[in-house]
């Protein structure tokens, strides 16, 4: 019988988001200290990551892209090995070969991460095809951005997934920006969920900054995929609170837009809800935050202490 997600407590949801935020802020801090690999942070998009990933089971598989820290951490990735990968250390999930832009962690079911925008969309049908042909309950979740939806491969991927009845939950994190271009410069009308209709595919738009709403929508969507073994497109409306990548630059963004979205910050919203409802005290909140900081201190220490890969192994892993 298909997987049934158990509902995480609101405190757990908050803690998961806070941990992601703390991780990304640590990245930002490293940049402040000096040269550091360019990273695309997911600050502001924590609810989409936590809400969707919390609705998944151990057999499910995830494909993601260049902005993947939230997905990986929500899935249980070790922040130390993640930071180590960003820093190109041998202890990273990909032994330093990937760096920040294409972190895969097969042990977590996070597969084939590609930084080619649309790469995840091109690979997802094959992963789902294996599921379909070799059996197994799991579904495939494919995270992508509003920009990726403009790539031709979006059309090809969703069409094939529909024609072949592949169990894929497509999750579009519509964060309003595509690197240095605003979403409204690249599409007209009312995308992206609406585009699913072209493929006879069910879809829904959810407030991507409300983690509980995302969790509920993801449970429904994943349930549909499990039940029908057909694809589904979930669009999470959210916002990229920082520049496309670190070092931070939003000089090209309308400050009013930033302000409006900061007011809808997913973490602050849940915190407020919990504090109002008395489910959480200020001390409790402080505890969650400092616990996250402690985790990141440890992660940073681990990464910094980790060795770089041996150049003698430069050409290992090119061929199977």
């Amino acid at each position: 019988m298909p997987f049934q997600p158990h509902r995480p407590s609101r405190l757990d949801l908050l803690a998961a988001m806070v941990r992601i935020r703390a991780y990304e802020e640590r990245i930002v801090a490293f940049h402040a200290q000096g040269p550091f690999p360019n990273v695309c942070t997911s600050v502001g998009q924590e609810a989409a990551a936590v809400g969707v990933v919390s609705a998944l089971g151990p057999e499910d598989q995830i494909l993601t892209n260049h902005r993947s820290a939230g997905h990986l951490l929500a899935r249980g990735a070790d922040p130390g090995r993640l930071l180590a990968e960003v820093m190109g250390r041998a202890t990273g999930y990909c032994k330093g070969r990937s760096g920040t832009l294409h972190v895969s962690a097969r042990e977590l079911g996070v597969l084939l991460t590609s930084t080619i925008v649309g790469g995840e969309l091109s690979l997802a049908p094959g992963v789902a095809l294996t599921r379909t042909m070799l059996g197994g309950e799991g579904i495939v979740v494919c995270f992508f951005g509003d920009g990726a939806a403009c790539e031709g491969i979006f059309h090809e991927s969703l069409n094939l997934a529909s024609v072949w009845n592949l169990p894929i939950l497509y999750v579009c994190e519509n964060n309003q920006w595509q690197a240095f271009v605003h979403r409204t410069e690249t599409m007209v009308g009312d995308p992206i969920a609406a585009w699913a209709a072209s493929y006879g595919m069910e879809s829904r738009v959810v407030d991507g900054n409300d983690v509980e709403a995302v969790f509920d929508a993801a449970c429904h969507a994943a349930g549909q995929v499990r039940a029908t073994r057909r694809p589904y497109l979930l669009e999470a409306t959210t916002y990229r609170q920082r520049g496309h990548m670190e070092p931070h630059d939003q000089s090209y963004v309308d400050p009013a837009e930033i302000e409006a979205w900061l007011a809808k910050d997913p973490i602050s919203r849940l915190e407020a809800r919990l504090l109002e409802g008395g489910e959480l005290s200020l001390q409790g909140l402080q505890a969650i935050r400092s616990e996250a900081q402690a985790v990141m201190d440890e992660a940073a220490a681990f990464a910094l202490a980790s060795p770089f890969p041996d150049p003698a192994e430069l050409t290992a892993h090119v061929y199977a």
């Binding site: 091109s122 690979l123 992963v127 789902a128 290992a316 892993h317």
Partner: protein, 338 residues
């Protein structure tokens, strides 16, 4: 020993491997329609038609390969690979390495190319060198039905992405194929004719051109060895160097364009590693740096010709070889139209 066309030999290899390994499947535009016998034998799950969408066909093959299947995809004609480069090069060729070895991509990409049908430059463009230049991939381009079968079987069993290029001009030419399901390992060249004065190195259709030229050269008292590369990546460097060191004279022949082609790699390799043994410059006889015209006589003129190989061979192996050759080379070498 039976007589089969290259197409039939490939179908036999596919059928045998699908029979042997249930993880092998095949899909592409018209695959289930055109390979009806495979559909009937293995069913619609393992033999599939696809929408017209090379990008996702290649990506789907990579995603399936990384997770436990062994897909063979038919992308029809080489120029259509231009829509599939991301799946092949950026995903299948790189993600194994980029993930620190977490994934393997046992998949085969089949495509036809080469002169013979007058289909023009958007159906006929010999692109094999692109994939030889790209990391993580393997490339084969056979010259006989027997090799088509043996190399296809090896390609399907290999744990890496293999580009399998079928020369249009050979597709329907019958040849002997051993019935025993023999495998031809990737990376092994074959000496098609022994010789002592000169080595002709080629692959696919022009191997036969070289054999004709060797015949003609023999009449002129020049003994030419003919080496069929079969695999372009991995390249059988040992076989190339052994023959080059033996004869001291090398002509590389292929239909693909000259610049940065496989012939350039072979010539560079020989000149670098067999320098001391070379009695004359390594000559390339290739297709011109031009799109392939559709008009039959132009298409034929595009393909390296026997007499060009013979005259180059005589220059090389003849007494005053080198001088004559450099003069000729000054005039732009033996590239048609160049």
């Amino acid at each position: 020993m039976t007589f089969l066309t290259a197409q039939e030999a490939i179908d036999q290899a596919l059928a045998e491997e699908m029979q042997r390994d249930s993880r092998v499947l095949m899909f592409g535009e018209g695959v289930a329609t055109k390979r009806k016998h495979l559909l009937e034998a293995f069913g619609p799950q393992r033999v599939r038609n696809t929408p017209l969408a090379e990008g996702v066909i290649a990506g789907t093959a990579a995603g399936a390969a990384a997770t436990g299947l062994r897909p063979v995809v038919d992308l029809l004609f080489a120029p259509f690979l231009c829509f599939a480069m991301d799946g092949i090069v950026n995903s299948a060729g790189k993600l194994g390495y980029m993930s620190g070895g977490q994934f393997q991509f046992p998949m085969v990409v089949l495509a036809m190319t080469g002169g013979g049908w007058g289909v023009g430059a958007q159906h006929n463009h010999n692109l094999e060198a692109w994939f030889v230049h790209s990391p993580g991939l393997k490339v084969v381009m056979p010259s006989t039905p027997a090799d088509c079968k043996g190399l296809m079987k090896a390609a399907i069993r290999d744990d890496n992405p293999v580009l399998f290029f079928m020369d249009i001009g050979l597709a329907y030419a019958p040849g002997e194929v051993p019935g025993d399901g023999a495998i031809i390992p990737l990376g092994q060249a074959a000496i098609r004719r022994q010789g002592s004065d000169l080595t002709l190195i080629s692959y696919a259709k022009t191997v036969h051109t070289c054999l004709e030229a060797a015949e003609a050269l023999a009449a002129h008292g020049v003994s030419a060895e003919v080496l069929d590369l079969r695999s372009l990546k991995p390249l059988d460097e040992a076989a190339i160097l052994a023959s080059a060191r033996k004869t001291g004279r090398v002509i590389v022949v292929h239909e693909a364009a000259r610049l940065c082609g496989v012939g350039a790699e072979v010539a560079a390799l020989v000149s670098e590693r067999a320098f001391g043994s070379l009695k004359a410059p390594v000559v390339r006889i290739t297709g011109p740096d031009a799109p392939v015209p559709s008009s039959f006589p132009l298409e034929q003129a595009f393909i390296p010709q026997v007499d060009a190989i013979v005259s180059a061979g005589l220059c090389l192996a003849g007494p005053s070889g080198t001088r004559a050759l450099e003069l000729q080379a000054m005039r732009g070498g033996w590239t048609p139209g160049a």
